[in-house]
């Protein structure tokens, strides 16, 4: 089973790569959104899944990437690639600046500190003239869905490879040690603050590129869409549903949930958002280690697995 996973993942990636040539326009557009969301979930996984630090503010890096790209392309007529780089630098700086003070906080303190981040950043950007204040920016039009699709796919692949590396490296072991017992990790020589901040910065890179791609694709940026707090909801839920701290869990989780969301949203949009909330509540109760853990158990999984999970944690 374990040996099959990697070749299987490569096959899926290849199959996804040829989709724009055979699929319909709507399918490609759905694909772009799903791939970008999977990237967000995967990059949230770096600090949230491996390091055990729940951030409800990663959408800020998405917004910084969005605005960095948009400002570079509209105000300075720079090419898209340069815009992406500027967005990434902006997000990395933001992650380091924000991370250094608040990542010294532990557990719930950190989580709640990130809760206010999105609102604060939105307030700042809606007052910046260079970012078009409240009105936003209009980017040059580029009608090439296939290109955006391949870019998004490439980004997800690179992000997943990075997570794969993390899961097998000394660095990742350090993060996991922090998740399991931060004091013990410190004793073993892990510089917890450095590890956590670098994890946040790493996550901010992929998140910012996803934002930049989305900005150029949708050709319009404003504070409400760039600093969309529901993005936090979605990336956290997709990662937790799929399996935090696993390599392919977040990707599987976000593909499954994106598909379900798309089907539901066609009927009633609020019901789709409601479903996300139920998913996270039920996931925490019944499968706290995510979908990946359920799949790993293979055929041995039965209702007993879920009962056992509850028995472990109930009062």
């Amino acid at each position: 089973m374990k040996r099959l996973i990697l070749p299987l993942a490569v096959l899926v990636a290849l199959a996804l790569a040829v989709l724009p040539m055979v699929g319909s326009d709507t399918m490609v557009q759905f694909g772009i959104n799903a791939l970008l969301l999977a990237t967000l979930a995967q990059s949230w996984n770096i600090l949230g899944g491996f390091g055990g630090y729940v951030s409800f503010g990663n959408s800020v890096f998405y917004g910084l990437g969005t605005y960095g790209t948009a400002i570079a392309m509209t105000n300075y007529n720079l090419p898209f690639g340069v815009g992406l780089v500027i967005g990434v630098i902006l997000a990395m700086t933001g992650a380091a600046l924000v991370g250094l003070p608040i990542l010294r906080l532990r557990g719930p303190y950190f989580a709640i500190a990130t809760l206010g981040l999105n609102g604060a950043m939105m307030a700042i950007f809606s007052n910046l003239p260079i970012a078009g204040s409240n009105i936003g920016l209009v980017l040059p039009l580029a009608r090439n869905d296939a290109m955006f699709y391949e870019l998004a796919l490439g980004l997800l692949v690179v992000c997943t490879l990075t997570v794969l590396w993390i899961s097998r490296s000394r660095y990742g072991m350090g993060l996991i040690a922090i998740r399991e017992d931060e004091d013990a990790a410190g004793v073993m020589g892990v510089n917890a603050t450095l590890w956590k901040v670098s994890a946040l910065v790493l996550a901010s890179i992929f998140t910012a590129v996803a934002g930049g791609i989305h900005a150029y694709w949708s050709t319009f940026v404003d504070p409400a869409s760039a600093f969309d707090s529901t993005l936090n909801v979605r990336m956290v839920i997709m990662c937790v549903f799929g399996g935090p701290g696993t390599v392919f869990g977040p990707v599987i989780g976000s593909f499954v949930l994106s598909a379900v969301y798309e089907v539901l949203a066609a009927q009633i949009s609020t019901a789709a958002a409601l479903l996300f909330g139920f998913v996270i509540v039920l996931a925490v109760v019944f499968m706290p280690r995510g979908l990946a853990d359920v799949v790993k158990g293979g055929r041995a999984i039965s209702w007993r697995y879920f009962i056992r999970n509850i028995r472990e944690n109930r009062l």
């Binding site: 608040i102 609102g119 604060a120 409601l274 139920f278 109930r314």
Partner: protein, 285 residues
């Protein structure tokens, strides 16, 4: 003169903020759950009072205790049926589940109540009276008084009643409390219920001063958290003081820097407080 008026507004609003944080501090201190759906519970309390007022014509201040009873029942059921299932697992999991609850409550509210702004608007909503050249809005003053009265009630409950002793004992040592005959499942549910009832009262008062929307929860959760940390989890009156501190800071920001920056300030305050004195929040109710 303007400054004095702003300070007065900040203090009156701050009392209400303190009430918002009181329920969160109680649940946090006793159950060790940082309830991210606390803001959503405030929102639900607000809507309960709103509908009691508009549909049944009950005066908002009379509707407040009714809303508190309703929210107590809701909170009790939530803890009994759901949160007790995960309360022993890692903090990450309780954070996530209350976050999920927040999403559920927010969008259920959007579905049921629609996304329109609502205000609880009794005939005396705009009434005010002058004191020493300052204008004192009646509703805000009443909200402040209710907040202080409820804080006193919580203090009395915790320090002078058998139930309060059981709650404090459980917060200190669950196993020992169990040996002395405390039923933790029930006690946790009651405590969460009280927290929800306090949130409900805060929501009703907030609806008279500001607007109700299904999405108001998230920022109020963050605000309550800041205040709970500033005030500590030990004494209800300190929580009210923490609320007043944040209320004044917000009013001054709105005056000197601009109203759009109040969110930035409460976030900055949060970071500063967390970094400077994170050990303040001790587990004891």
């Amino acid at each position: 003169m303007v400054l004095a008026q702003i300070l007065l507004n900040g203090i009156l609003l701050g009392g209400l903020y303190g009430l918002m944080a009181l329920g969160m501090a109680l649940v946090w201190g006793v159950l060790n759950i940082v309830n991210l759906s606390h803001g959503a519970l405030i929102m639900l309390g607000g809507y309960t009072v709103y509908y009691l007022f508009t549909l049944a014509g009950i005066d908002p201040f009379v509707a407040l205790p009714i809303a508190m009873v309703v929210m107590f029942a809701a909170g009790f059921a939530l803890q009994w049926g759901l949160l007790n299932l995960v309360v022993r697992s890692k903090m990450l999991n309780t954070l996530l589940i209350t976050f999920g609850l927040d999403v559920v409550l927010t969008f259920a509210a959007q579905l049921v109540f629609t996304a329109d702004f609502r205000t609880i608007n009794p005939s005396y909503a705009g009434a005010n009276f002058p004191v020493l050249g300052l204008t004192v809005p009646v509703v805000r003053l009443a909200a402040f008084c209710v907040a202080v009265a409820l804080a006193a009630g919580v203090w009395f409950l915790l320090n002078r009643m058998p139930l309060g002793r059981a709650i404090r004992a459980t917060a200190q040592n669950l196993t020992a409390a169990r040996l002395y005959g405390v039923n933790p499942r029930k006690l946790y549910a009651i405590t969460f219920g009280i927290g929800a009832a306090l949130a409900g009262a805060a929501g009703g008062l907030y609806g008279m001063i500001s607007n109700l929307t299904p999405y108001m929860g998230a920022s109020l959760t963050a605000k309550s958290f800041v205040i709970a940390i500033i005030g500590g989890l030990a004494n209800p009156f300190n929580v009210i003081l923490g609320g007043i501190f944040v209320g004044i800071a917000e009013s001054l920001t709105a005056l000197y820097i601009g109203p759009t920056y109040t969110d930035v300030i409460s976030f900055g305050l949060l970071v500063v407080v967390l970094v400077v004195r994170p050990k303040r929040a001790v587990r004891a109710a």
